[in-house]
Symmetry: C2
Subunit: 111 residues, 2 copies
Amino acid sequence: MEKDLYGICPYVTAQKLLTGKWTLLIMYQLSLKKMRFNELQRALPSLTQATLTKQLRMMSDNGLIIRTVYDQIPPKVEYSLSELGERFQPVLNAIQEWGTEYIDFLKGKSS
Amino acid sequence: MEKDLYGICPYVTAQKLLTGKWTLLIMYQLSLKKMRFNELQRALPSLTQATLTKQLRMMSDNGLIIRTVYDQIPPKVEYSLSELGERFQPVLNAIQEWGTEYIDFLKGKSS
DNA sequence: CAGGATCCTTCGTGATACTG
DNA sequence: CAGTATCACGAAGGATCCTG
């Protein structure tokens, strides 16, 4: 089973963590700045509250992001990248670049 | 819908393409050398034929890899990275590095 | 504002059997 | 050797309603 390779093979491990359909997008948003729950929702309009909540919890459990709760009324919760999340930046950059190239490729195809 | 961003946002686009549970692994394998169907299967033991076939077809359709059929008996089919696939290398490298760091993080946690 | 709790559907993944 | 064809399942994702 590939599960055995989680925590062993870098690729299997990374894939597991990035599995979420939105993980990459959230990582990107948070790499720009720390954000509150509603800010994220506005940045990712096609994502429902429930899903966003689950994703954030997963990412928090995995140590990718940090959840900071300010004990006040109205409630305020901020999400930011953890140390590990920050180190993810190179991947983000590489993906952005490659994604852009891929989009160009798509355009060339359709025209 | 986020579908609208496919072909527009690099991250959405990349995430779609890397969605498959095995895409990253296959990309890595093929980045080492072109491989035949059975070679890939041996390299990824926990992956069934059916699934591998589907993944390869998807990746081929997406232009990530190239499928070369040698018309002979017994059949021989080789898979290799396309131009676009080659350009994916930086992402692969970044992921490998980050994945390794993450594994270290996991170890530190459990101990 | 930032969720929690449910319910439901879709899609990816896998098992198995068969083929040129 | 390199697939194709079916069937089935589980989990991720989403819709909706409710709360401190």
